[in-house]
């Protein structure tokens, strides 16, 4: 197949599908093993310096905030990150420990541009920035989920987004038209927050699934946090609801309000007051560090974080029964 154009961005994580197969055979247990553990244990067991990591879903929505706070607390450095995010990646960037980004969007949505992204990229502390689209990065996970090294798509063509990516443009062997090939993206460690999981890691998500189904299948190690831990019997009553089956999951962490100050669809709304505080504190480097000190390093774990925010305050964010607002 003739390569017409190659993006100049480095391939931060090459798509070695044979190694991924071997990994999935050797390191992913197919036995039903109790994987319920604390966030300290889960992160300590599976994270490492230089890891290539990713989070799902989208910033303030079903976001694995409690896990990311623990990743920061444990001090891992030289991180490489698949960058579609809002709060979780913003606070990770605030630590100055991100070295490479496969970026599609990092920002604060209605609250504008991420000051941490600006500081870290403009200063060169993030040494590699490789561009993709949201569809593009999700399809890269999908390729890994399919077990193939790349996926043909019609996004990114003709743009600088492609030029500064690691994609390639080829002539389609069937039609002769140009098509973009995106390399499969395999994460060293993935973090996903779900509504319910059992001890083995079978997960249910309510509402939109974002890119959880694809990303969960593209991780060498997957840490799941769940609002609720349920008996496997409940999983077996509705197997159609299992979007992430147990064998993909390495650790299950019970984290009620794990997405706070973000939201969890049908369970609790986002904490607008604390989100505004976060955006404001992140504007300047010293206040950003003060924010990390207060909300990340201060509490020893998610339990203490919930105490800090206040249990009543958290409860007040809950939707009334039946999902009414």
């Amino acid at each position: 197949m003739h390569v017409v154009e190659s993006g100049i961005g480095p391939l931060i994580q090459p798509p070695d599908m044979n190694a991924f197969r071997e990994w999935n055979r050797k390191h992913k247990t197919k036995a039903l093993v109790d994987k319920l553990m604390s966030e300290q244990e889960a992160v300590a067991r599976f994270m490492f310096d230089g890891a290539y990591i990713g989070t799902e879903l989208y910033g303030t929505v079903r976001c694995p905030m409690s896990l990311i706070r623990e990743v920061i607390r444990q001090g891992y450095k030289d991180l490489r990150v698949a960058g579609q995010g809002v709060m979780e990646l913003d606070i990770l960037l605030a630590t100055g420990r991100v070295r490479a980004l496969d970026i599609t969007y990092i920002g604060n949505e209605v609250y504008g541009i991420s000051a941490n992204l600006r500081r870290e990229v403009e200063s060169g502390r993030v040494q590699q920035v490789v561009e993709w689209s949201n569809g593009g990065i999700t399809w890269r996970f999908k390729a890994a989920a399919m077990g193939v090294p790349f996926i043909p798509v019609r996004s990114m063509l003709g743009t600088d987004t492609l030029k500064y990516s690691a994609a390639k443009v080829v002539e389609c062997p069937f039609t002769g038209e140009k098509v973009a090939l995106l390399p499969a993206l395999i994460l060293d460690v993935g973090f996903i927050h779900v509504h319910r999981a059992d001890r083995y890691g079978n997960c249910q998500i309510d509402g939109i699934a974002g890119f959880a189904t694809e990303m969960a299948r593209a991780c060498k190690r997957l840490i799941v946090s769940a609002e609720e831990i349920i008996p496997t019997d409940e999983i077996r009553q509705r197997p159609d609801r299992t979007v992430i089956p147990y064998y993909l999951v390495d650790a299950v962490v019970h984290a009620p309000f794990g997405s706070h100050p973000g939201e969890m669809c049908y369970v609790y709304r986002r904490d607008e007051e604390l989100i505004r505080e976060w955006v404001k504190e992140m504007e300047q480097p010293d206040t950003a560090q003060a924010y990390l000190q207060k909300y990340v390093y201060g509490p020893k774990n998610h339990d203490e974080y919930m105490d800090l925010v206040g249990r009543d305050c958290l409860e007040s964010l809950r939707y009334r029964k039946g999902g009414e607002r």
Binding site: V110, V121, N134
Partner: protein, 254 residues
Amino acid sequence: MSTEYNPRELLICVAARLMEDGTTAFIGTGIPMLAAALAQKLHAPNLVTVFEFGGTGAILEELPLAVGEERTFHRALSATGICDTMETAQRGFIEYGFLGGAQIDPYGNLNSTVIGDHARPKARLPGSGGANDVGSHCWRTIAIMQHDARRFVPKVDFITTPGYLTGPGAREAAGLPPGTGPYRVVSSLALMGFDDETKRMKLLAVHPGVTVEQVIQNTGFELLLADRIEQTPPPTDEELRLLREEIDPHHLYI
């Protein structure tokens, strides 16, 4: 004489009027959401909104603050995921896509990635997000922009999202689906379209109180002029009432 309004309210109304009933529109956060909510309450009750993280056909009773949150699939027709919505666009199901950016050029190319050089940018912006996908696959894209010469530039610093690229035939030559591309630009001063032959931006209408000269002065490239330049009708009392009382009563956006 109609009620007074602010520039943002006008932008929302102009964008809403472009949304057709019974069709599909890819909606991002901000002005497109308010415009879609307004269109649903007026002329387009069956406007099917598509939010990239999986919500299709939401009824926008309350404004979403994030593109993945519950309100993006409130009483929706389906709640899936980002692969589904992007692939639906790639298959040609989505008519309109709404976009924004820090810079736009005469061919409707948009930049939301960097100001300056990519390696050492003067300003690092959020990046493509879903914009590149929307601009690649939706049949007609509508950009919503603040209008000044820093934003309407001869050449964008970085093409995040494809417009007509370098001109006629360039999208197809790059491999993008034929028949797609920029349709309208709604700015704080005017409404623009694109010339069929040259694919360059063309002034179609000026907003109330704005002169053609003002639009030209605030555009950093030569703007084509339609044979007859219309006047944008001001927001109606009903549009403003819906916006202020029902759609955004807490003035989060307006």
